[in-house]
Amino acid sequence: MSLLRVENLRTYFDTRAGVMKAVDGVDLEVREGRTLGIVGESGSGKSVTALSIMRLIEKPGRILPDSHIFFEGNDLAAIPERELESLRGNRISMVFQEPMTSLNPVYTVGDQIIEAIRLHRRVSVQQARDRAVELLRLVGIPSPERRVDAFPHQMSGGMRQRVMIAMALACEPKLLIADEPTTALDVTIQAQILELLRQLRDELSMAVVLITHDLGVVAEMCDDVAVMYAGQVVERGPVESIFSDPQHPYTEALLRSIPLLGMTKAEPLTVIPGMVPSALHWPTGCRFVARCKNALDRCHREPPPLARSGSGYAACWLRESIPEGSQHGAAHR
C-alpha cells in the first residue's frame, strides 16, 4: 500500500533573476514500511522535494496549485496549515543534514525532545522527560540519564545526529524523511548512524525517505530509488534492478563514474561531460540532452515522460515502448 504519493509536484522560487523551477513535476511513491532513496546532485531538487513534502517551503518559494502530496488520505499540498502542524513531527518527521544548525543551542537536548513530545501528546513534563531518556537510549547515546541535560555543543556531530533522530522518532512517525543524514559525518560514524536507522526502521516499521548524493548509501539502505536530475525524477524503481540495469543514460553514467573499492586508475572513470543546466532556464526537451551521448533530434524538442521501463520507470526517448506525443505523468495512469 502506498503511504505517500507525490504527483506532479512543482516548487518554484521567485527570484530577481527570474523563476527558479527547483522542483518541476516530480512523481514519487513510498510504500508502507519501505525505504525510498532520492538521489541527485546539488541543484537536482532533491532537498526541495523533501521540504515540499513537509510543506516547509518559505517565500519566495511556492508549491504550485496542481501539485499533490497524498499522505494517509490527506493531500498535504492542500490542507490548512493547522492540520499540517498536527502531522509534522507526529506522523511525518524529518532529520536534516547538519544537526548543529537544526538544534537550538540555548536549550538542552532533553528540553528539545520534551517539547517535541508535548507538542503532540498530552503528557506531563516528567512523563515526557522519561520518554526523552528512553529515546536517547534507543538511539544509542551512552548514559542517557545524564546526557538528557547536555547542550548540543557539548556533543559530537555523531551524537547530535542521534539526538535529531531521537527527536524525530519521539511520536513514532509512520514516515521519516532524512535529508543527507550522514553527509557531515565521518565514515565510521556514518556506518553507526546508518545501522541505527536500519534497526529503528525495522523495529518501528516506519517508511523512510532517504535523500542522498551517495549511491553507496542508497545501495545499502534502500528498497526503491528515485534518481533526480534538473528538478525531475528521471528514473525510479527497485534499487536492485536500477543498479544492475539502469534505464536512463544519466543513471547509467552516474553509476559508472564513481570508483569502486577494487578499481585502479588503469580503468578510466566514465565522465559525464558538461554540467547541470540552470533552474532558471531548463532546456525545452529532455533536460539531460546536452550531456547525453546518444541524444536524438526528438530529445531536443520534446520532454520525455516518465514511462514504464525495465522493472521501473524512466524518462528517456531512447527507450522504446513510449508512444509518440504522450505527455507528462502518463506513467501513473
Binding site: E240, P259, L261, G262, P268
Partner: protein, 323 residues
C-alpha cells in the same frame, strides 16, 4: 632502490590550546605526532583518515604550508623544514598544493589568468612567457583559453577546481599534495577531475600525495596508502595489499564502513563503537585501543611501533600488537 623524493622523520605538529583571560597555553592538541615517511618519486601516496586524524595537517607540512613543531623534512636530500628566503622559494616551486575548496582558495578579484600566473610572476617570469605558460596550462586542464579573462565566480565548481590544479602545476612542481581535491564537487564532476589528475600525473611525471576521507577515490588513484588515526600512521602499504589483506583493525573497520554502490552486498559489519578520542589527551599506549575489538591490557601499556610483520614483506607496515 631510488632515493625518496621527500623524506619525513619524526614529524610532529602540536597546536596550542589556549584558555582563560590571558589566553595561556593550557595544553597541546597533537595533530601530527611522530610521522616517518618516504615519498618515492613518481608514486601516488594516499593519505586517509577521518576528521581529526591529522592527514590535512601532515599534507600541509609536506609542502611547507605549515612548519612542523619538530622533526626533519628533506626534499631530494636537502633539509627543508627550517628554510627561508630564496632557498625556500626554490623548493616551494617544486612542492605544490591543491586545495579542497576551489571557492575559498581563489581570489575573487583576480582574473583566472592572473591567478594561474601569479606563481610565475613571483618567480620573475616575463609577461609573454607567463601568458604562454598559462595558456598551455589551460589547455592541459581542459579549460578554454578565454577563461583566462574570466573571474572565478563566472565559472562552475568543477572549472574552478581545474584552475586550482592549473595554478599548482604551472610551476612544474615535482611533488603535488592534493587535499580532498574532489570532495566539494558533485558526483558527476568528481570523475572528470579524478581522470584529469591521473592524466596530468602521467603526462608531467608528477608525484602525488592524495589526501582524502573518500576511500574509494584514494584507492582509485593511489599506489600506496597510509592510514592515519589521531596523528599517527596505523598502517602503510601498497593499495593492493591494503585492499586484499588489511592488517590493522582500524583499517579493516574503515574499509568495511564504505557504502559501495552494489545492492545486496551488505557490509561484513565491522561497525566501530564510540568515537575518536580527543587529540589533546590521547589514550596511553595504542591510540586506537578505546575503539578496538582486539584490545587487551598490553595495548594500554605499550605503544605499538609501525613495523613490518615478522616474515612479511618489508613494505607492509602496521602498528598493532595483534595484527
Amino acid at each position: 632502490m631510488n632515493e625518496p623524493l621527500l623524506r619525513a622523520r619524526d614529524v610532529r605538529k602540536y597546536f596550542p590550546v589556549r584558555s582563560g583571560f590571558l589566553q595561556r597555553t593550557v595544553a597541546h592538541a597533537r595533530a601530527v605526532d611522530g610521522i616517518d615517511l618516504d615519498i618515492r618519486p613518481g608514486e601516488t601516496l594516499g593519505l586517509v583518515g577521518e576528521s581529526g586524524s591529522g592527514k590535512s595537517t601532515l599534507g600541509r607540512i609536506l609542502v611547507g604550508l605549515m612548519t612542523p613543531s619538530a622533526g626533519e623534512l628533506s626534499f631530494e636530500g636537502r633539509e627543508i623544514a627550517g628554510l627561508g628566503g630564496s632557498d625556500l622559494r626554490r623548493s616551494r616551486r617544486q612542492l605544490q598544493f591543491i586545495f579542497q575548496d576551489p571557492n575559498g582558495s581563489l581570489d575573487p578579484r583576480m582574473r583566472v589568468g592572473e591567478i594561474i600566473g601569479e606563481g610565475l610572476h613571483a618567480q620573475g617570469a616575463e609577461r609573454d612567457v607567463r601568458n604562454k605558460l598559462v595558456n598551455e596550462m589551460l589547455d592541459k586542464v581542459g579549460l578554454r583559453r578565454e577563461a583566462a579573462q574570466r573571474y572565478p565566480h563566472e565559472l562552475s565548481g568543477g572549472q574552478r577546481q581545474r584552475i586550482g590544479i592549473a595554478r599548482a602545476l604551472v610551476l612544474q612542481p615535482k611533488l603535488v599534495v592534493a587535499d580532498e581535491p574532489v570532495s566539494a564537487l558533485d558526483v558527476s564532476i568528481q570523475s572528470q577531475v579524478l581522470n584529469l589528475l591521473v592524466e596530468l600525473k602521467r603526462e608531467l611525471n608528477l608525484t602525488y600525495v592524495f589526501v582524502s576521507h573518500n576511500l574509494a577515490a584514494v584507492n582509485y588513484v593511489s599506489d600506496r596508502i597510509a592510514v592515519m588515526y589521531l596523528g599517527k600512521f596505523v598502517e602503510l602499504a601498497s593499495t593492493e595489499q591494503l585492499r586484499r589483506a588489511p592488517l590493522h583493525p582500524y583499517t579493516r573497520a574503515l574499509f568495511s564502513a564504505v557504502p559501495e554502490p552494489i545492492p545486496g552486498r551488505r557490509r561484513q559489519s565491522v561497525v566501530l563503537k564510540g568515537e575518536p578520542p580527543n587529540p589533546i589527551d590521547p589514550p596511553s599506549g595504542c591510540r586506537f585501543r578505546t575503539r578496538c575489538p582486539l584490545a587487551r591490557d598490553v595495548c594500554a601499556e605499550r605503544e605499538p611501533g609501525l613495523t613490518p610483520r615478522p616474515g612479511d614483506a618489508n613494505d607492509h607496515l602496521v602498528a598493532c600488537h595483534f595484527a
